[in-house]
C-alpha cells in the first residue's frame, strides 16, 4: 500500500501554496487541527481561510499570521465565547490604524450552498434565506434572483471552489477512498468543489474494508491528492467512535485567546516547538488521552449487502 500516502509535512508543502483558498472543513466533528498546525509551521502566507465555523483552528492560524481573509458563517467558540485573535483583527478599538482582516460572511446554509454549487459546477446556489436581513448589505455577493418559472424571488450565493480542501476521516485506503460516520458537515461538498484534496485519517485500511461498506464512503480516491495517517489529528475536535471532543481544551482556550502574549506562547509550545502531530500527542500525555476516550461502545448492527454474481 503506497498510493497517495504521504506525511503531513509533504502534503502541506506540496499542495498548499501562499495565497490559496483553503477549507479545513468539519462541523465540530473531524476538524483537522494537525493540518492547520502544519500550515502554521510552514509559515504559509496570505491564505483565504474558508469554514462555516472558523473554530479554534482558524483563531490559531489567524494569530500565527497565515491568513489575509476569512470566509465564514458563525464565528465563535461554541458554548464558551469568542475567538479573540480573530476579533482583534476585526474590532475597531483593537485595530487602531491596522488594516482589518478581510471577512466575507454568509449563513450556514449559504456556505453549504456555496460548496454545493462549487462541487456541481453551477454559477450560483438559490436559497430562501436573507430576506429582510442586513446580510446582503454586509456582503454584496448575496444577491436576489427571480425564478425563471414565475415571479418568486430567492437569494443566490456564488460557488466556492477552494484551492485546497482538508478532510479528516475515520479511515481511508491508500488510494484515498475515505469513509466517515457521525456528523458529516459539508466535507463532501467542500472536497468535490476543491482543486486539491488532502485526506487525513485515524486509520489506513485495506481497500477491501472500504468495499465491504460502500455506503459509508464520502469521497472517492478519484478526487484525492494525498492521504495522511495522523492518529488524534483532529484533537481538540473529535472523531466519532475514536475520541471525544476535548471540551476542557475549548474552555481553556478562552483566556489564551484573549491574551496575545499567551497565545503566541501557546503557538510556540504546541505548534512551532513540535515537529508534528506525533510529538503533539506525546505532549498531551496518556492521562489526557484517556480522558477523551468514549465512555463505552455503541456499534452499529451489521448490514448485509448481498452477493450478486
Amino acid at each position: 500500500m503506497s498510493g497517495k500516502v504521504t506525511t503531513m509535512r509533504d502534503a502541506v508543502a506540496e499542495l498548499v501554496r501562499d495565497g490559496d483558498t483553503v477549507a479545513i472543513e468539519g462541523f465540530t466533528h473531524l476538524i483537522c487541527f494537525a493540518a492547520g498546525h502544519e500550515i502554521i509551521r510552514q509559515r504559509k502566507r496570505d491564505l483565504v481561510l474558508a469554514r462555516l465555523t472558523p473554530d479554534l483552528i482558524y483563531d490559531q492560524m489567524v494569530a500565527a499570521g497565515v491568513a489575509r481573509k476569512l470566509i465564514f458563517s458563525w464565528l465563535g467558540n461554541p458554548g464558551v465565547g469568542g475567538l479573540y485573535a480573530i476579533r482583534r483583527r476585526i474590532e475597531a478599538a483593537e485595530l487602531g490604524d491596522e488594516p482589518p482582516l478581510e471577512v466575507e460572511e454568509y449563513s450556514h446554509f449559504g456556505m453549504v450552498g456555496r460548496y454545493t454549487a462549487g462541487a456541481a459546477n453551477l454559477p450560483f446556489y438559490p436559497l430562501r434565506s436573507y430576506f429582510e436581513t442586513d446580510l446582503p448589505k454586509a456582503n454584496p455577493l448575496i444577491r436576489p434572483v427571480r425564478s425563471p418559472y414565475g415571479d418568486e424571488i430567492v437569494y443566490a450565493v456564488p460557488p466556492l471552489k477552494p484551492d485546497v480542501a482538508v478532510v479528516h476521516a475515520q479511515r481511508a485506503d491508500a488510494g484515498g477512498d475515505a469513509q466517515v460516520w457521525g456528523l458529516l458537515g459539508c466535507q463532501k461538498e467542500a472536497a468535490f468543489a476543491a482543486d486539491r484534496v488532502i485526506v487525513v485519517v485515524e486509520e489506513l485500511v485495506d481497500e477491501a474494508v472500504v468495499r465491504a461498506d460502500p455506503n459509508r464512503t464520502i469521497i472517492p480516491g478519484l478526487i484525492v491528492d494525498a492521504v495522511v495517517v495522523e492518529p488524534f489529528g483532529a484533537h481538540p475536535s473529535y472523531v466519532q467512535g475514536y475520541y471525544d471532543r476535548d471540551n476542557r481544551f475549548y474552555r481553556d482556550w478562552d483566556p489564551i485567546s484573549r491574551d496575545p502574549a499567551a497565545l503566541q506562547a501557546w503557538l510556540e509550545e504546541w505548534v512551532y516547538g513540535l515537529a508534528g502531530r506525533e510529538e503533539y500527542v506525546a505532549r498531551l500525555g496518556p492521562e489526557r488521552l484517556a480522558a477523551i476516550r468514549p465512555s463505552g461502545s455503541a456499534p452499529s448492527g451489521p448490514v448485509d449487502y448481498g452477493a450478486y454474481r
Binding site: F27, T28, H29, L52, T53, F72, S73, W74, L75, G76, P78, G79, V80, G82, I86, R87, I90, E91, A92, A93, L95, P100, E105, Y106, S107, H108, F109, V112, G113, T116, L127, R128, S129, Y130, F131, E132, T133, D134, L135, K137, A138, E152, I153, W181, G182, L183, L184, G185, C186, K188, E189, Y238, Q240, D244, R245, N247, Y250, R251, P294, A298
Partner: protein, 248 residues
C-alpha cells in the same frame, strides 16, 4: 428562565436547537414536558437523544442513538427549508420590540465595536421554521429600540408588514412567538409587538421596565411564572449542567 423556556415547548413536535441557552432548555423539555420532542441539530442530526448535555451543538452524544444523521445540505434544504421544523429556538445579543434579532455586530458592520458570532443557521431558521422561540437575558443593552444589525428577521416593523412580506415571498415561518428572559415571558400581540405575559417569581415590573429600551407592553392579567419544580432543578443541576457551563 430555562425551566420556563422548556415548558413553552409542551405540545411541540419538531424543534431546531440553537447553540447556548436553547440547547439546555430543549434538553430539559425532552426530559419533562415534551418527551416525544424530536430534536434537530443543524450539525445534521434528526431525532437526537443526547445522553449528556452537549457543550457544543456538534457533540458526539447527539449522534449516538439518533434517528438520522444527514449532511448539512440535507438538513438545511430538506428538513428546514422543506418546512418540517415546528419551532426554531434561538438566542440573541440584541432584540427589538418586534422580535428582530442581531447576533452579528455591535456598532457599524465595517468597524464594529464588538464582533458577535454572526448568523450561523439563525437567519434561515427565522425564515423557515414555523415559529420562533427566543431565550436570552434582558438588559438595556440587549432589549433595544433599534438593533445595530438585522441578522434574523422577526415581525419586521409590525405584524401587518411582516404578514404581507411572508405571504408575498412564500416564507413558511410565522415569525417569533415567545421570548423567555431571566425576568419573564413575552408573547407577541396582534400588532406584532412583544407583550410581557408573565413575571418570574421574585422579578418585578420595575426591573422589567429598567431593562427594556422601549416602553414594554404588559398584559392586563399579568401572571407569575410557576417556580421551577424540584425535579426541574434536579435535572438542570445534577444531570444536564453539573459543571455550571450554562447556569453558573
Amino acid at each position: 428562565m430555562i425551566a420556563a423556556a422548556a415548558r413553552e415547548l409542551a405540545g411541540q413536535h419538531v424543534c431546531f436547537v440553537g447553540v447556548g441557552l436553547p440547547n439546555i432548555a430543549v434538553n430539559l423539555a425532552q426530559r419533562t414536558v415534551a418527551p416525544d420532542l424530536e430534536l434537530v441539530y443543524e450539525a445534521g442530526v434528526f431525532g437526537a437523544r443526547p445522553a449528556r448535555l452537549p457543550l457544543s451543538i456538534g457533540d458526539p452524544t447527539i449522534v449516538t442513538g439518533s434517528t438520522a444523521v444527514v449532511s448539512m445540505h440535507e438538513l438545511f434544504a430538506f428538513y428546514l427549508q422543506g418546512g418540517l421544523i415546528d419551532v426554531g429556538f434561538l438566542g440573541a445579543a440584541q432584540i427589538d420590540r418586534y422580535g428582530n434579532i442581531n447576533t452579528t455586530v455591535i456598532g457599524e458592520y465595517a468597524r464594529p465595536r464588538t464582533r458577535l458570532p454572526g448568523s450561523g443557521g439563525a437567519c434561515e431558521i427565522a425564515i423557515n421554521a414555523r415559529q420562533i422561540f427566543v431565550i436570552m437575558r434582558q438588559s438595556k443593552r440587549s432589549f433595544v429600540e433599534a438593533i445595530d444589525f438585522r441578522t434574523s428577521p422577526g415581525n419586521l416593523g409590525g405584524a401587518e408588514r411582516a404578514e404581507r412580506i411572508r405571504r408575498e415571498q412564500g416564507w413558511l415561518g410565522r415569525g417569533p412567538s415567545v421570548v423567555v428572559t431571566d425576568l419573564g415571558i413575552y408573547h407577541f400581540d396582534e400588532t406584532g409587538e412583544m407583550r410581557l405575559d408573565a413575571l418570574h417569581p421574585g422579578a418585578t415590573l420595575e426591573q422589567v421596565r429598567a431593562s427594556v429600551g422601549w416602553v414594554p407592553r404588559v398584559a392586563a392579567e399579568l401572571v407569575t411564572t410557576p417556580a421551577p419544580t424540584a425535579e426541574e432543578l434536579r435535572l438542570i443541576r445534577d444531570e444536564l449542567d453539573p459543571e455550571g457551563a450554562y447556569t453558573a
